[in-house]
Symmetry: C2
Subunit: 160 residues, 2 copies
DNA sequence: CACAATTAAATTGTGCACAACTAAATGGGG
DNA sequence: CCCCATTTAGTTGTGCACAATTTAATTGTG
């Protein structure tokens, strides 16, 4: 490799590197998932369900559409997930009166109350990473840059 | 926050930060997945299938167990995935003669040949990230550290 | 040798991600 | 005012991740 990032290594080498980076990200996401799984078991939440609850706790009641924008998830993922949160008694779903296409997701008493118990989660996760808050922030920034770049690339599709 | 990484922010603030880091990683993994999906469509592979093929191209034929160790995946995930790769004609699965519990995964001619077409994938992915090779390597190192720490934490389980 | 413990795959069941499609409500242009 | 494009949720089908269980082969130990 050289300082400009222009590939000089043979393609074989690139294939090996590709395995490393895509595998690393994949593995890290699953490792995170595993730690959350353990810690969230107490709360009866999965990791994606926890993400939904975090958004609702932060922003209050939201239509499914807005929830999906915050989380980059579509109704294909959210509809069944919200149905499970509803049968767990944490949210209610109500058709909006103003626009009958829209479904408002509302925290129940129980859903709001769960927030108190969730307050200890981030500390435990941070402890599990062994990273301090600045390292976490730095990594987060890198990942966000990456996500933005990748989303753009996915839009401009599959040109070689 | 302060320079030691000791939390001084209120728990409320931590909840917001937690949303950010776990969300960032989750989103980055899915964005990566999306770009691979587009690029791998040509090859008729999904992202996890591509990971399996990369390991086989690099290490040659392997038993399911070893494959799982390289990828941190168990037979619950690999068995159906390998079945799909087999019906796509890319691998064969054969019970080992020496140890009948073990199943050897072997590349077919077609599976080996696919490697040639895969050689262009990493360049296209790297282009999509917009990162140069050193940035990618640095990020990879960070993620690997994170994965190791998280795996350890998951083992020592759910102590508050 | 016999038998219990271990190991390797596969299977089953749950949940998430996403593409493709459907259904219903909305809103703007002729 | 009516029709049609758009918007919002939901549904269906495929594939992955993982826990729990099952089956079969192997290994270790008395």
């Amino acid at each position: 490799m050289n300082r400009t990032g222009t590939p000089t290594a043979p393609q074989e080498e690139w294939l090996r590197l590709d395995r490393q980076i895509c595998f690393s990200l994949h593995a890290a996401a699953r490792a995170f998932n595993g730690v959350y799984r353990v810690i969230l078991k107490d709360l009866g939440l999965t990791y994606p369900q926890y993400l939904v609850m975090l958004v609702l706790w932060e922003h209050g009641d939201l239509p499914v559409k807005k929830l999906g924008e915050h989380l980059r998830l579509d109704s294909g993922t959210l509809s069944p997930l919200l149905k499970r949160l509803e049968s767990a008694g944490l949210v209610r779903r109500e058709r909006s009166a103003r626009d009958e296409r829209s479904v408002q997701v509302r925290l129940t008493e129980e859903g709001s109350a769960l927030r108190e118990r969730a307050l200890q989660v981030p500390r435990r996760i941070a402890a599990a990473t062994g990273f301090d808050i600045e390292e976490i922030s730095a990594l987060r920034s890198r990942l966000d840059e990456l996500t933005i770049a990748l989303d753009e690339a996915a839009l401009s599709a599959a040109a070689p």
